[in-house]
């Protein structure tokens, strides 16, 4: 029950894109076509779902103060390596993205090409690193971290798929020249996050 509540909260109430505005670059750039958006959304679910629990593992068994007590070596047992958090998280994320990229290239080449540069750029997508950092900050345990990773990715996927459907719908709209393209997408993002605010404060 706790975990379901966490998942619902992460997807709808604390949506990583629409409540924290993380991962905006790919959210804005890859939402022109629904197919691309779906692909990127799935990739983000995959990467977040893998990296958050993996980073949890690294953080808890290597990096926090006293984490390496399991080795039995007295010097290591008192070591505090938490200053390595960021760099090791990034390394894990980069590796995971590499793997996802290879899998996509091998099995779904069409999607691989339509995602273009944004697939390797998931590495520096703020929502991915944000997921791991939130995990540290909120002190999740392992199962919570796993659920949180998948749910945060699903929240990203939900947001990017719905905005791409909206962008498809407004393709024929008579938008003022100055607002066409990104400008309109920014405004849409604002309106969407206003709509998502209907969940703010829900107490599960």
């Amino acid at each position: 029950m706790e975990l379901i509540s966490l998942a619902v909260r992460t997807i709808f109430i604390e949506n990583i894109v629409l409540a924290y505005f993380l991962g905006m670059c790919s959210f804005l750039a890859c939402s022109k076509k629904i197919e691309t958006a779906t692909g990127l959304g799935l990739a983000v679910i995959c990467v977040l779902g893998l990296t958050v629990p993996f980073n949890w593992f690294i953080q808890h068994y290597f990096l926090t103060e006293g984490a390496m007590a399991w080795t039995g070596i007295p010097v290591l047992a008192t070591l505090d390596l938490s200053f390595l958090n960021l760099i090791s998280f990034i390394a894990v994320i980069a590796c995971t993205v590499q793997v996802v990229e290879m899998i996509l290239d091998r099995y779904v080449p069409a999607l691989y090409h339509s995602l273009g540069i944004f697939l390797p750029l998931i590495t520096v997508n703020c929502s991915i690193l944000g997921g791991s950092l939130f995990m540290v900050e909120r002190q999740y345990d392992f199962s919570e971290a796993a659920v949180y990773g998948v749910a945060a990715g699903s929240g990203f996927a939900l947001a990017i798929i719905s905005i791409s459907a909206i962008r498809k719908k407004i393709r024929y709209s008579d938008i003022p020249p100055g607002l066409q393209g990104l400008g309109m997408t920014m405004i849409l993002t604002g309106l969407m996050s206003m709509a998502f605010m209907c969940f703010a404060g829900i107490d599960l």
Binding site: I161, A165, I170, C198, I202
Partner: protein
């Protein structure tokens, strides 16, 4: 009529390209098509013959809005007399007092929104659309009678400009402009639009008799103590099913009256303007949501979860939202199956927001706004599924055709 036609023909050159008032053509066009059927026809296929253009459609909605509007005025007056303890008032007095409260709000909404609409249509050179008459009336009806007028102006300006005009005007928007305006006010000025003390105008705030705060049924149900029988609790507070269905309770101007909205629903469905699928979907969703929640153990969850379906139906803004807001053809789902999904999800969301979210007891507007965002996605997947089944069918048919040929 002939005289009018002649007058219009006389002044027409002024507004045509090259004329003096060329810039004001949208104003002329609005007047012209308001009075007469336009002479122009579409140049490219598809051609559809029909008397129902956006103008007639929007006017039908405005007509359907009259019952809740009139009742809202009556109720605002009635609540005023009740809260301020003014006895011996007839229904005409109620209506008169209510008109004094409600009409300024509607007027501000029309004037501010209308000015912006005309301004945009002149600069952007598109036609003025009657859609605004609907937005400008829908929006005030979702507000509490105590709302400050400047907030009405700010809200409708946001709704018309950000919700509609920057997309290119009526028909191009994604969210319902009236809902956008309402949500904007809701999050920008929560004090004036939610809470217990705002639902009826108080003449002299210092001397209100204790116990006459004019809470809404929703507010009362949200604070009901755990474990009590919610129906009995509400009737102790003076909220019987019938009083709520008739609508003589505190609440936003147009949304308290279930029966007035029902009349509007009949008008919309019979004229074919509002989608019955969406309305039915909303009710079904509400039923599913409330029945599921009723199954929860009463001891561990708040007693609000135990509220039966027919109470939810007449509660707060549900009927108003489902009839007038959810059925907006621009922002709702467009496919038939999509409309069902859209409606049912609205109903379920309403229950979730109402019961689980103590901050916004009136979750209807926000639920519809959220589903406005989701409607294009629903349509996309419905269409994709349709294409897939048709393709499969076509393939099977061609296969059987080939087989019969071979035989």
């Amino acid at each position: 009529m002939k005289f009018l036609l002649k007058q219009m023909e006389n002044i027409k050159p002024l507004f045509m390209p090259g004329g003096k008032l060329e810039k004001l053509y949208p104003l002329f066009e609005a007047q012209d098509t308001f009075l007469f059927t336009p002479a122009e026809t579409t140049r490219h296929a598809p051609h559809i013959r029909g008397a129902l253009d956006t103008k007639r459609m929007m006017i039908t909605v405005v007509i359907a809005l009259i019952p809740p509007f009139l009742f809202g005025m009556f109720n605002a007056g009635q609540q005023y007399h009740y809260v301020n303890q003014i006895p011996d008032m007839g229904w005409l007095d109620h209506l008169w007092r209510g008109a004094g409260i409600v009409l300024p709000i509607v007027l501000v909404s029309y004037v501010v929104g209308g000015t912006l609409e005309v301004l945009f249509s002149i600069i952007r050179r598109h036609d003025i659309n009657e859609g605004f008459l609907v937005t400008g009336l829908l929006f005030p009806l979702t507000l509490p009678p105590t709302i400050p007028l400047w907030q009405v102006a700010a809200g409708i300006a946001f709704g018309v400009v950000i919700g509609k005009e920057i997309f290119g005007g009526t028909g191009f928007n994604v969210l319902n402009p009236a809902l956008t305006a309402r949500a904007f006010l809701f999050f920008a000025y929560p004090n004036e639009i939610s809470g217990d003390g705002i639902w009826s105008v108080v003449k002299d705030p210092e001397n209100v008799v204790e116990g006459f705060t004019g809470a809404t049924p929703l507010g009362a149900a949200a604070v009901a103590p755990r474990g009590v029988n919610i129906v009995e609790y509400l009737s102790e507070q003076g909220f019987e099913w019938w009083t709520m269905a008739v609508g003589l309770t505190g609440g936003s101007i147009g949304e308290t009256a279930f029966f007035a909205c029902l009349i509007g629903a009949v008008i919309l469905i019979v004229s074919g303007v509002g989608s019955w699928r969406i309305m039915a979907g909303c009710v079904i969703g509400l039923f599913i949501g409330s029945t599921l929640l009723n199954r929860l153990p009463a001891e561990t969850y708040s007693s609000f979860t135990q509220l039966p379906f027919h109470y939810h139906l007449v509660y707060g803004g549900f009927a108003f939202g489902a009839v007038y807001m959810a059925t907006d053809p621009v922002s709702a789902a467009a496919t038939a199956k999509g409309k069902w999904i859209y409606g049912v999800l609205i109903g379920i969301l309403v229950i979730i927001i109402r019961v689980a979210n103590p901050a916004f007891p009136g979750g209807v507007m926000l639920a519809i706004l959220f589903m406005n965002v989701m409607a294009p996605v629903i349509d996309h997947y419905v269409l994709q599924a349709h294409i897939r089944t048709r393709r499969k069918k076509a393939r099977e048919e061609s296969l059987t055709y080939v087989q019969t040929q071979e035989r």
